[in-house]
Symmetry: C2
Subunit: 307 residues, 2 copies
DNA sequence: TTCATACATGAAAATATTTAATGATACGAG
DNA sequence: CTCGTATCATTAAATATTTTCATGTATGAA
């Protein structure tokens, strides 16, 4: 199997056995410490001695003694094991605190995260959160990203998925517009207002259909290429927007937007927290997920009272 | 099997696989370097990632990249492997040169080794020979001794045994005595000489029986507790000794002793070079053994011409 | 002597690793 | 665009290694 110049590195179990035996000077006791039988330790040490071609212990009547070779070899083994433990510690430390990189869409970042991150950071100073916004779903295989918030159906195989928020669509406008503009008592009043669209320009036609409203011209009004910009335009009093609940929730709670009428369109997608299975139970991932879910729960509770 | 605080150290194969893959950034190429299949490397790295609970590589379309975790972990692994290699090198260095400890009987040391060691040391300056003389056979299990010359039947199980010399018993005396003392033409002439005995005082009776000689009183003469002293007494011209071939060979070759008559008694024992199987093929052991055998061969050749 | 303790050992059982075959995906050349 | 090549992943089967189990041997104590 193995050839000439091959490196014959000993097995870790053999090295560990050697190290423990060298410390206890007893196979039996070492076996106890290693949670194996005495025979296993005996075999391991014997195998190591054979591999190295050197006797590591003097087997004397009642006691064990290291040979000169064993005495000289021991520190190398101790250092090697130490490095491995240090490596494991390094990985633990790095996973249990430090940087948490989260990928979200630019919209979610702008309308959901940015307004609340301060709260999270204040209560979790040990977590150094890094938000990376991208239109595409992040590929966990090729980026050092531990979790993401995604908009979709929640069907991502091989990922740990937690539902964050359902999504509904309903009209919103700024409180100023409601107070000072033309009346907005019923859907029909929209005829007197600017309709704000997203890039698809599909939402208003669908909503109007749901509201049995065919008296207004849904082709009117400006459109924006980012959902967040539609909402921001509404906040600025530019007109009436169709908001998606998750993204508008914060502005509704803080009174920058008000919800109009009582016609709500369920949206096909929802927001989900996803992470690779391997990192899904890391301390910092769990903490951030719990916080997201809590915030979303508060949003939902607040939304339920807006109409 | 393993519980809570258990140390989960990775297997060496997994670490080596990781290290090579990190260097090649290719499972396939790493597999070639490790002389295993690509699948084996894939399994190993996957297992390591699972054990550590961390992704070590980004698997991208065409290439592999270390994750941050992998990048940080790699140096620990390199150091650990390096320590292990250094340990192996240390053992190799210590076995391939440096000290060679040989256990022999005091007689063999005095009458065989001491006169020739200079030659060996001169031609093998890299070997630091340490001779330890003891009456008892050394216990390789409890002493840092790599080889021994033993007197016996050559039946030592578990040891590597090489025959060094047969043993014969015959009368010797100093050339001065032969030249200047009473005649020593035939065994009967021994009646006129002092017989030198070892502690057992058995040899002369047996030799006389073999020589069909019943005319002399074998109870005469001093005895010595070490065989070497019997020979030294003969060299000093104190009388005629029954020498054992191996121990007298050097003095015969250098003319300090002469062999008498033609009656030789085969001795039941011989001299053997023994060493633990593990160290029997070490460079320095092989060298010293070869030298011993060569010297013994020269002795035998020289002895064959003495009568 | 007999008991208790410690290490060695050989065969069987339990695990782990490696292979071989195949799948999936991406890239580049016609 | 399709094929051929190269890469990594995955599965079950073949191997190899490790551990246990059941003893064996030797020593020191009672």
């Amino acid at each position: 199997m193995y050839e000439g110049g091959m490196e014959r590195l000993p097995q870790i179990t053999a090295l560990r056995s050697f190290e423990v035996v060298a410390r206890c000077l007893s196979f039996t006791q070492a076996a106890r410490e290693l949670n194996v039988t005495q025979g296993a330790v005996s075999h391991q040490v014997k195998g190591l001695e054979k591999l190295l071609g050197v006797r590591l212990f003097h087997r004397e009547r009642q006691r064990l003694r290291l040979t000169d070779a064993g005495t000289g070899y021991l520190p190398f083994v101790r250092e090697a094991i130490d490095r491995l433990k240090a490596g494991a510690d390094y990985l633990d430390a790095r996973e249990n605190s430090g940087v948490l990189t989260v990928s979200v869409s630019p919209n979610f970042a702008a309308k959901w995260l940015v307004n609340r991150l301060g709260v999270f950071s204040a209560s979790h100073p040990e977590i150094d959160l890094r938000v990376t916004a991208s239109l595409q779903h992040v590929d966990f295989n090729s980026k050092d990203v531990e979790m993401a918030v995604r908009h979709g159906h929640g069907d991502w195989p091989n990922l740990h998925v937690t539902k964050l928020a359902r999504e509904e669509i309903f009209p919103v406008c700024s409180p100023d517009l409601l107070r000072e503009g033309a009346a907005l008592e019923s859907p029909e009043d929209l005829a007197q207002h600017v309709l704000l669209h997203d890039a698809s320009r599909n939402d208003w036609p669908i909503w109007c259909a749901a509201a049995n409203l065919d008296t207004i011209d849904v082709s009117r009004g400006p459109s924006f290429d980012q959902t967040s910009m539609v909402i921001d335009a509404a906040i600025a009093g530019q007109g009436v927007a169709l908001a998606r609940s998750a993204l508008a929730a914060h502005d509704l709670r803080t009174g920058k937007l008000v919800r109009l009428f009582n016609v709500t369109l369920p949206a096909p997608y929802g927001y989900f927290i996803v992470s690779p299975k391997a990192s899904s139970d890391h301390e910092k991932v769990r903490k951030f997920r719990a916080w997201l879910v809590e915030e979303a729960g508060a949003d939902a509770a607040a939304l339920a009272t807006t109409v």
